[in-house]
């Protein structure tokens, strides 16, 4: 996938872009719907996310994160801007000139993949109550208080479950900084 993104970035490769769309659009749309968009809006936001990928591909740098992480970040930012229609106080960087590079060093790309594999493994192995709050936060887009309300838990319990989950994740990727 990082490969397709590089082709879009370097040679504005339309065929590579189409493949990226096919690979990512169904998940971006699903993400937007889980975040509360109706199917029509989700479809529009999906188009917009992938268009942003096209426009900003040159800013993508493989050594800062995988294609998936980058596209997730773009979807996340668009979701705040367009779905909540809020001012983005919290846009995560989508790439800066100083960070762009032609080819990520192979070991960095490997490390990034390894990190994601490990995070995934930790998430899969989380106790159900911890996995639940993490998913509600990242996928359903609920604030801590909304999660507390939804699950009928004290706010402090929600936060401590989030913390416990992250402790494990951090431990799993600590040696790969």
């Amino acid at each position: 996938m990082a490969d397709l993104l590089q082709r879009v970035a370097r040679s504005r490769d339309v065929e590579a872009f189409r493949k990226l769309f096919q690979a990512y659009a169904p998940r971006v749309k699903s993400y937007m719907m889980r975040q509360g968009a109706d199917p029509g809006t989700a479809e529009e936001l999906t188009q917009e996310t992938l268009l942003t990928v096209w426009r900003k591909a040159a800013l993508y740098s493989g050594d800062k994160g995988s294609a998936t992480t980058w596209i997730f970040t773009i979807a996340r930012n668009l979701r705040i801007d367009k779905l909540r229609r809020e001012v983005s106080w919290q846009p995560l960087p989508e790439g800066h000139a100083e960070e762009a590079s032609d080819d990520p060093a192979p070991d960095e790309e490997l490390q990034e993949r390894e990190r994601r594999v490990r995070v995934r493994a930790v998430l899969d192995a989380l106790p159900k109550d911890q996995a639940e709050v993490v998913t509600l936060s990242y996928v359903e887009g609920l604030s801590h208080s909304e999660i507390a309300e939804r699950l009928g838990l004290p706010l402090g319990t929600v936060k401590s479950r989030m913390r416990l989950a992250y402790d494990k994740i951090r431990e799993a990727v600590e040696d790969l900084r």
Binding site: L59, W89, R120, G141, S145, Y166
Partner: protein, 216 residues
């Protein structure tokens, strides 16, 4: 001076997920601009979002890829490196929003002797309260608890309570389990950015803050 008090890990996760109420997000993003350690941590947390993103069940997409052939030239040039002006004590994200670089230029509203505030508008429909608070030297805020999530970022001067001294860049991340009675710096007072996810709640705090002056 090194930052000693950071937001709770759960607070940073909510930021990384993009699911933080706007007022709280303002405080976290201002802190991230001052604290490379937390900025790195939030960067690492985006792996969680990406990993979960891969597990989402795909849904059928009705439309095809946007026609980009005609948009070949429509590429954003890499933005200039994010130059964060170091002059002025107002954190960069806040500067952008206020259009001001100095605390002296803020149109402070006097609330009571030694206490001023300046409210920052939130998006219509967003709940919560976001404001800058300026407190004269040596003012003691009566003991109070908190409800929901409340974040305070110290921007100038300091204050202290039972949990320690808070200086520039420090964040006090409180929830309903904490009670405190902060006192502002005896020489410099303090300026802070205060966010509460519940607006009504903030009014209560304000009333208590003003109690010694207004006898509410």
């Amino acid at each position: 001076m090194a930052i000693m008090h950071h937001p709770d890990v759960a607070t940073l996760m909510s930021c990384s997920a993009g699911s933080q109420p706007e007022a709280l997000a303002a405080v976290v993003s201002s802190h991230l601009s001052m604290c490379p350690a937390c900025a790195r941590e939030v960067g690492r947390m985006s792996l969680i979002g990406a990993a979960l993103f891969e597990t989402i069940a795909p849904v059928e997409v009705a439309s095809t890829a946007p026609i980009v052939e005609a948009r070949a030239g429509e590429a954003d040039n890499p933005p200039p490196p994010d130059v964060r002006p170091s002059g002025g004590a107002i954190p960069y994200p806040l500067q952008k929003r206020l259009g001001l670089t100095s605390f002296d230029d803020i149109p402070w509203r006097r609330l009571a002797p030694g206490v001023w505030d300046h409210r920052l508008p939130l998006t219509e429909g967003a709940t919560g309260d976001l404001r800058l608070l300026k407190v004269a030297p040596g003012v003691k805020v009566p003991e109070h608890g908190h409800e929901g999530e409340e974040l305070t970022l110290l921007l100038d001067g300091s204050y202290s309570d039972a949990t320690g001294i808070y200086r520039t860049g420090d964040v006090s991340d409180l929830d309903n389990t904490t009670e405190h009675a902060p006192v502002s710096d005896p020489d410099r007072g303090c300026i802070c950015l205060v966010a509460s996810e519940k607006r009504a709640r903030y009014k209560g705090l304000l009333a208590r803050l003003l109690q010694p002056f207004t006898g509410l």
